[in-house]
Protein backbone atom coordinates (compact mmCIF):
# COMPACT_ATOMS: atom_id res chain seq x y z
CA UNK A 1 0.00 0.00 0.00
CA UNK A 2 1.49 3.38 -0.96
CA UNK A 3 2.38 5.64 1.92
CA UNK A 4 3.71 9.07 2.75
CA UNK A 5 7.28 8.97 4.03
CA UNK A 6 8.84 11.60 6.27
CA UNK A 7 12.46 12.06 7.27
CA UNK A 8 13.97 12.42 9.74
CA UNK A 9 11.72 10.96 12.40
CA UNK A 10 13.32 13.21 15.01
CA UNK A 11 15.26 16.42 14.48
CA UNK A 12 17.03 18.29 17.25
CA UNK A 13 18.27 21.78 16.52
CA UNK A 14 19.47 24.90 18.25
CA UNK A 15 17.33 28.00 18.34
CA UNK A 16 18.06 30.21 15.35
CA UNK A 17 19.18 27.38 13.11
CA UNK A 18 17.54 26.44 9.84
CA UNK A 19 15.86 23.08 9.48
CA UNK A 20 14.44 21.27 6.49
CA UNK A 21 11.84 18.59 6.99
CA UNK A 22 11.42 16.18 4.14
CA UNK A 23 8.46 14.31 2.80
CA UNK A 24 7.87 11.91 -0.05
CA UNK A 25 4.16 12.03 -0.87
CA UNK A 26 2.25 9.23 -2.54
CA UNK A 27 3.50 9.15 -6.10
CA UNK A 28 0.38 10.03 -8.10
CA UNK A 29 -0.92 12.66 -5.69
CA UNK A 30 -1.00 16.31 -6.70
CA UNK A 31 -2.04 18.02 -3.46
CA UNK A 32 0.34 18.30 -0.55
CA UNK A 33 0.05 19.63 2.98
CA UNK A 34 1.96 20.33 6.14
CA UNK A 35 0.39 20.22 9.58
CA UNK A 36 1.87 20.50 13.01
CA UNK A 37 0.93 19.24 16.45
CA UNK A 38 2.39 20.90 19.50
CA UNK A 39 2.58 18.43 22.37
CA UNK A 40 -0.82 17.99 23.96
CA UNK A 41 -2.60 20.18 21.42
CA UNK A 42 -4.66 19.64 18.31
CA UNK A 43 -3.28 19.07 14.84
CA UNK A 44 -3.09 22.42 13.04
CA UNK A 45 -2.98 23.18 9.34
CA UNK A 46 0.08 25.01 8.12
CA UNK A 47 0.01 25.07 4.34
CA UNK A 48 -1.37 23.40 1.23
CA UNK A 49 0.45 23.14 -2.07
CA UNK A 50 -0.73 22.40 -5.58
CA UNK A 51 0.67 22.92 -9.05
CA UNK A 52 3.97 24.16 -7.63
CA UNK A 53 2.49 26.93 -5.58
CA UNK A 54 0.93 27.51 -2.19
CA UNK A 55 -2.86 27.15 -2.26
CA UNK A 56 -3.55 28.27 1.27
CA UNK A 57 -1.55 29.00 4.39
CA UNK A 58 -2.45 29.59 7.98
CA UNK A 59 -1.40 32.51 10.15
CA UNK A 60 1.20 30.22 11.69
CA UNK A 61 2.95 29.95 8.32
CA UNK A 62 4.84 33.23 8.46
CA UNK A 63 7.94 34.39 6.58
CA UNK A 64 10.11 31.98 8.54
CA UNK A 65 8.43 29.06 6.80
CA UNK A 66 8.67 27.98 3.19
CA UNK A 67 7.75 24.92 1.18
CA UNK A 68 9.21 23.52 -1.94
CA UNK A 69 8.83 20.61 -4.30
CA UNK A 70 12.41 20.47 -5.54
CA UNK A 71 11.93 17.44 -7.75
CA UNK A 72 9.21 15.03 -8.78
CA UNK A 73 9.10 13.16 -5.52
CA UNK A 74 10.06 15.32 -2.53
CA UNK A 75 8.09 17.99 -0.70
CA UNK A 76 9.98 19.97 1.92
CA UNK A 77 9.19 22.36 4.75
CA UNK A 78 11.93 24.80 5.69
CA UNK A 79 12.05 26.83 8.86
CA UNK A 80 14.69 29.53 8.42
CA UNK A 81 15.40 30.52 12.00
CA UNK A 82 13.85 28.16 14.49
CA UNK A 83 12.27 29.33 17.72
CA UNK A 84 11.57 27.38 20.87
CA UNK A 85 7.86 27.48 20.06
CA UNK A 86 8.47 25.68 16.77
CA UNK A 87 9.03 22.49 18.74
CA UNK A 88 6.26 20.17 17.59
CA UNK A 89 5.44 17.13 15.53
CA UNK A 90 5.22 18.06 11.87
CA UNK A 91 3.05 15.94 9.59
CA UNK A 92 3.12 15.85 5.84
CA UNK A 93 0.02 14.71 3.97
CA UNK A 94 -0.94 14.18 0.35
CA UNK A 95 -4.19 13.58 -1.48
CA UNK A 96 -7.22 15.55 -2.53
CA UNK A 97 -10.52 14.14 -1.30
CA UNK A 98 -8.74 12.05 1.31
CA UNK A 99 -5.48 13.11 2.91
CA UNK A 100 -2.94 10.45 3.79
CA UNK A 101 -0.47 11.29 6.51
CA UNK A 102 3.13 10.42 7.14
CA UNK A 103 4.40 9.28 10.53
CA UNK A 104 5.69 12.77 11.30
CA UNK A 105 8.95 14.47 12.21
CA UNK A 106 9.38 15.45 15.83
CA UNK A 107 11.25 18.76 15.89
CA UNK A 108 12.92 19.72 19.14
CA UNK A 109 14.32 23.25 19.31
CA UNK A 110 16.76 23.77 22.18
Amino acid sequence: EPEVTQTPSHQVTQMGQEVILRCVPISNHLYFYWYRQILGQKVEFLVSFYNNEISEKSEIFDDQFSVERPDGSNFTLKIRSTKLEDSAMYFCASGKNIQYFGAGTRLSVL
Partner: protein
Protein backbone atom coordinates in the same frame (compact mmCIF):
# COMPACT_ATOMS: atom_id res chain seq x y z
CA UNK B 1 -15.08 29.13 9.62
CA UNK B 2 -15.25 25.43 10.22
CA UNK B 3 -14.60 24.08 13.69
CA UNK B 4 -14.69 20.72 15.39
CA UNK B 5 -15.32 19.97 19.05
CA UNK B 6 -14.50 16.72 20.74
CA UNK B 7 -15.95 17.14 24.22
CA UNK B 8 -14.12 14.23 25.81
CA UNK B 9 -10.39 14.68 26.30
CA UNK B 10 -9.85 11.24 27.80
CA UNK B 11 -12.04 8.15 27.93
CA UNK B 12 -11.35 4.85 29.65
CA UNK B 13 -13.27 1.71 28.80
CA UNK B 14 -12.83 -1.93 29.60
CA UNK B 15 -11.75 -4.37 26.94
CA UNK B 16 -14.83 -5.84 25.28
CA UNK B 17 -17.03 -2.89 26.20
CA UNK B 18 -18.72 -0.67 23.65
CA UNK B 19 -17.32 2.73 22.74
CA UNK B 20 -18.69 6.02 21.54
CA UNK B 21 -16.49 9.04 20.89
CA UNK B 22 -18.27 12.31 20.35
CA UNK B 23 -17.63 14.86 17.64
CA UNK B 24 -19.54 18.04 16.89
CA UNK B 25 -18.77 20.28 13.96
CA UNK B 26 -19.63 23.78 12.91
CA UNK B 27 -20.08 24.43 9.22
CA UNK B 28 -22.80 26.12 7.18
CA UNK B 29 -23.27 23.51 4.48
CA UNK B 30 -22.82 19.76 4.34
CA UNK B 31 -19.35 19.04 5.59
CA UNK B 32 -16.98 16.29 4.65
CA UNK B 33 -16.10 14.48 7.87
CA UNK B 34 -13.29 12.18 8.90
CA UNK B 35 -12.07 10.19 11.85
CA UNK B 36 -8.33 9.58 12.17
CA UNK B 37 -6.50 7.49 14.76
CA UNK B 38 -3.00 8.14 16.07
CA UNK B 39 -1.26 5.32 17.89
CA UNK B 40 1.70 6.23 20.10
CA UNK B 41 4.65 7.33 17.98
CA UNK B 42 2.67 6.89 14.79
CA UNK B 43 1.14 9.15 12.19
CA UNK B 44 -2.53 9.70 11.53
CA UNK B 45 -4.40 6.79 10.03
CA UNK B 46 -7.78 7.29 8.39
CA UNK B 47 -10.51 5.24 10.08
CA UNK B 48 -13.48 6.35 8.03
CA UNK B 49 -15.02 9.25 6.15
CA UNK B 50 -18.40 10.72 5.29
CA UNK B 51 -18.94 12.59 2.04
CA UNK B 52 -22.61 12.02 1.24
CA UNK B 53 -25.27 9.31 1.07
CA UNK B 54 -25.82 6.79 3.81
CA UNK B 55 -25.33 8.56 7.12
CA UNK B 56 -23.95 5.45 8.80
CA UNK B 57 -20.46 4.78 7.51
CA UNK B 58 -18.27 1.80 8.14
CA UNK B 59 -14.53 2.03 8.57
CA UNK B 60 -11.53 -0.08 9.29
CA UNK B 61 -10.88 -2.02 12.49
CA UNK B 62 -14.62 -2.48 13.16
CA UNK B 63 -15.38 1.21 13.65
CA UNK B 64 -18.44 3.01 12.39
CA UNK B 65 -19.72 6.57 12.59
CA UNK B 66 -23.08 8.21 12.12
CA UNK B 67 -23.61 11.64 10.59
CA UNK B 68 -26.51 13.48 12.20
CA UNK B 69 -27.13 16.79 10.49
CA UNK B 70 -29.75 17.89 13.03
CA UNK B 71 -27.23 17.53 15.85
CA UNK B 72 -24.13 18.59 13.86
CA UNK B 73 -22.52 15.41 15.06
CA UNK B 74 -20.38 12.62 13.68
CA UNK B 75 -19.85 10.22 16.57
CA UNK B 76 -17.52 7.26 16.30
CA UNK B 77 -18.61 3.89 17.66
CA UNK B 78 -17.31 0.41 18.14
CA UNK B 79 -19.37 -2.42 19.66
CA UNK B 80 -16.46 -4.14 21.42
CA UNK B 81 -13.05 -2.55 21.96
CA UNK B 82 -9.75 -4.38 21.93
CA UNK B 83 -6.61 -3.43 23.86
CA UNK B 84 -5.02 -2.44 20.54
CA UNK B 85 -7.61 0.33 20.14
CA UNK B 86 -5.84 2.39 22.78
CA UNK B 87 -4.82 5.53 20.89
CA UNK B 88 -5.71 9.15 20.23
CA UNK B 89 -8.73 9.73 18.01
CA UNK B 90 -9.25 12.86 15.97
CA UNK B 91 -12.35 14.06 14.22
CA UNK B 92 -11.79 16.42 11.30
CA UNK B 93 -13.79 18.39 8.77
CA UNK B 94 -13.19 19.80 5.31
CA UNK B 95 -15.51 22.47 3.99
CA UNK B 96 -15.53 21.51 0.33
CA UNK B 97 -13.40 19.86 -2.26
CA UNK B 98 -12.52 22.76 -4.50
CA UNK B 99 -8.80 22.55 -4.84
CA UNK B 100 -6.46 21.80 -2.01
CA UNK B 101 -8.38 21.87 1.24
CA UNK B 102 -7.22 22.05 4.79
CA UNK B 103 -8.43 19.67 7.43
CA UNK B 104 -9.69 21.24 10.63
CA UNK B 105 -9.16 18.90 13.55
CA UNK B 106 -10.78 18.55 16.92
CA UNK B 107 -8.75 18.47 20.09
CA UNK B 108 -8.62 14.69 20.08
CA UNK B 109 -9.86 12.06 22.51
CA UNK B 110 -7.37 9.80 24.19
CA UNK B 111 -8.72 6.29 24.63
CA UNK B 112 -7.40 4.04 27.38
CA UNK B 113 -8.41 0.40 27.54
CA UNK B 114 -8.60 -1.42 30.87
CA UNK B 115 -7.85 -5.14 30.73
Amino acid sequence: AQSVTQPDIHITVSEGASLELRCNYSYGATPYLFWYVQSPGQGLQLLLKYFSGDTLVQGIKGFEAEFKRSQSSFNLRKPSVHWSDAAEYFCAVVGSFQGAQKLVFGQGTRLTINP
